[in-house]
């Protein structure tokens, strides 16, 4: 049975959802060990067990939260060389990618990024990866004795394991060498907007260049309020400086999966749609009947968004009364 390690990432002392998603998936293939590093680690062990981790390795050393990548990569690399897990799975997050890149070089192993699915066929690892903006699904395996896999958030559902036993919790007693303490985090600043986040929202309204002007994003925010929606954007408008990068959906932005995604004035370039095409429902509003987004919208409306959005806001408010 493969011995599978998952780096359970902490954010403000809480395990990130992507780590629970990964554990929910890989527990089907072997014994899962979760590694949690940084302040608050120990308190998360129980939760990791509920999702199917059999063993949890913890360290409360605050160094992990004060320096980028190197302390975590050193720890994982040192332990992996001793214990030789078959797989190490990490979420495609800012921190996860940094750790994975160094770990890859430390272990000299194979690395499969952007995994959409993980399977074992006849004992052989089979990872499905969308290539070329998700037009093609490629099966990849690795001959390495320890393989490294990166998984995008929302690739798997996070589901508690029924009847999970309490995990074995082990304290790590590794000394972090000074040379891992180089890229120092001076401060972390939250730029949180109001309302639900793109990751959690049931409804997302995204705007593109078809909105014509930065100030027309106000129309989307006005519609977002009664729908309790998050507002996203295409890269074209992020690059134009209309809205911050944290709102970008797509290949180089966020992957989202809401109940409904409303694309307003977005043409539907493949690099955008790769980030939203797994939404349950897609509504598109575009003046151009030939816009590619209409090829896969469940409801496509050919028309001027600057007229339709305010009318829709009124209509929703009216129906809510």
């Amino acid at each position: 049975m493969p011995n599978i390690w998952v780096l359970a990432e902490l954010h403000n002392g809480k395990v990130q959802k992507v780590s629970l998603e990964i554990i929910s998936k890989v527990r089907n293939f072997g014994d899962v060990t979760a590694i949690v590093l940084g302040a608050g680690a120990e308190s998360q062990a129980g939760l990791l067990g509920e999702y199917g981790a059999k063993k949890v390795l913890v360290s409360e050393d605050p160094t992990y939260s004060h320096y980028l990548a190197e302390p975590a990569a050193f720890t994982l690399g040192t332990l992996a060389e001793q214990q030789k897990p078959s797989l190490i799975v990490i979420g495609t997050t800012y921190d996860g990618r940094d750790v994975a890149a160094r770990l890859n070089a430390m272990l000299g192993c194979g690395v499969i990024t952007d995994a959409a699915d993980i399977n074992y066929e006849g004992g052989t690892l089979k990872v499905t990866v969308p290539w070329y903006s998700a037009t093609t699904l490629v099966d990849v395996t690795s001959p390495s004795s320890t393989a490294l896999i990166l998984v995008r958030p929302k690739s798997f559902a996070a589901e508690k394991l029924e009847g999970a036993a309490a995990p074995m919790v082990e304290q790590l007693s590794l000394t972090l060498p000074d040379k891992t303490k180089r890229a120092r985090i001076v401060e972390t600043v939250d730029e949180k907007s109001e309302g639900p986040s793109l990751e959690d929202a049931n409804v997302i309204i995204s705007g593109g260049r078809g909105l014509k002007d930065a100030k027309n994003f106000d129309l989307l925010h006005e519609l977002a309020t009664p729908l309790n929606a998050a507002v996203g954007a295409s890269r074209a408008v992020v690059d134009s400086g209309w809205v911050p990068y944290s709102m970008q959906v797509g290949q180089t932005g966020k992957t989202v999966k809401p109940t409904v995604y409303i694309a307003v004035g977005i043409s539907g370039a493949i690099q955008h749609t790769v980030g939203m095409k797994n939404s349950k429902n897609i509504i598109a509003i575009n003046t151009d009947a030939d816009a590619p987004i209409f090829k896969f919208a469940d409801l496509g409306v050919i028309g001027d968004s600057l007229k339709i959005i305010p009318a829709l806001t009124e209509e929703i408010k009216r129906r809510k009364h």
Binding site: T136, R182, G300, V301
Partner: protein, 259 residues
């Protein structure tokens, strides 16, 4: 200040890529290739630093012979010189082999600062820069949307999901930059002319002390075993707005129980 920027030639990013069903590799023949737009930010950032503080910008690129065109574009923007690692044995190299090759070439330059894009536009693994930093035993500061270099230190604003971090390290260091860091310049005609005369050193894997059997497809630790076209969503109902679009959309939202 001695700065190395890692740059890559990629198939025109807005084009559609195809897989060769026999080799299971991306088809690069007959496809327009360009300097990765993501790399122009690193070049611009390097040029701004040396324009203010003096120094040299060296481009390092691994790729087939024709990648020289992309290198020339970077030189036309203003970089001083380049190292081009080109070798038939390198075809099919994975991220780690690429990092090893680039690290070996960069080491010869002994730079204060190494710049990469956070991810390339064609393979977007994002694994190469961290691999280089690990191999060269350097700190890695990533996803920079702002960067300052002063007093032997580099400080960045690191992009995060919902905010940013300020991160600093002593030089030498490796930094990956995002598209928010600057507005890359367009090469001027004069720059294009000068670029033709700028030195480009051409190296093979063996020149860098790497065993030709451990690079390229032979050294890759990932194997593609099969592929299929991804299932595409189908179009649903398309309506033209004749004044009642708001009602149609609200009805749809009600039908899926969002309102």
């Amino acid at each position: 200040m001695n700065i190395v920027v890692c740059v890559k030639q990629v198939p025109e990013p807005t084009g559609t890529n195809k897989i060769d069903p026999n080799t299971l590799r991306i088809v690069r023949e007959g496809v327009d290739a360009v300097l990765d737009p993501a790399d122009e930010y690193g070049i611009e950032a390097a040029l701004q630093i040396i324009e203010a503080q003096g120094g040299t910008v060296t481009l390092v690129s691994m790729g087939p012979d024709r990648a020289l065109e992309a290198i020339r574009r970077g030189l036309a923007m203003g970089a001083d010189k380049a190292i081009h690692i080109t070798d038939n044995n390198l075809a099919g190299s994975d991220a780690l082999t690429t990092a090893k090759i680039l690290a070996a070439a960069i080491k010869r330059e002994n730079p204060d600062l190494i710049l990469c894009a956070t991810e390339s536009s064609d393979s977007y693994t994002g694994m190469v820069p961290g691999g280089i930093a690990q191999i060269l035993d350097l700190p890695q500061l990533t996803f920079a949307r702002k960067m300052t270099v002063a007093d032997g230190k580099v400080t960045i604003q690191r992009q995060l999901e919902g905010g940013y971090q300020t991160v600093e390290a002593s030089l030498p260091a490796l930094v990956t930059v995002t598209g928010s860091i600057n507005e890359p310049r367009y090469p001027a005609l004069k720059g294009i002319m000068q670029a033709k005369k700028k030195p480009v050193e051409s190296l093979t894997a063996a020149d860098l002390g790497l065993d030709p059997n451990e690079v390229g497809q032979a050294g890759a630790k990932e194997r593609v075993t099969g592929w299929k076209p991804a299932e595409q969503r189908k179009a649903g109902q398309i309506v033209k707005d004749d004044g009642n679009a708001a009602t149609v959309i609200a009805d749809f939202l009600a039908s899926i129980k969002v309102i």
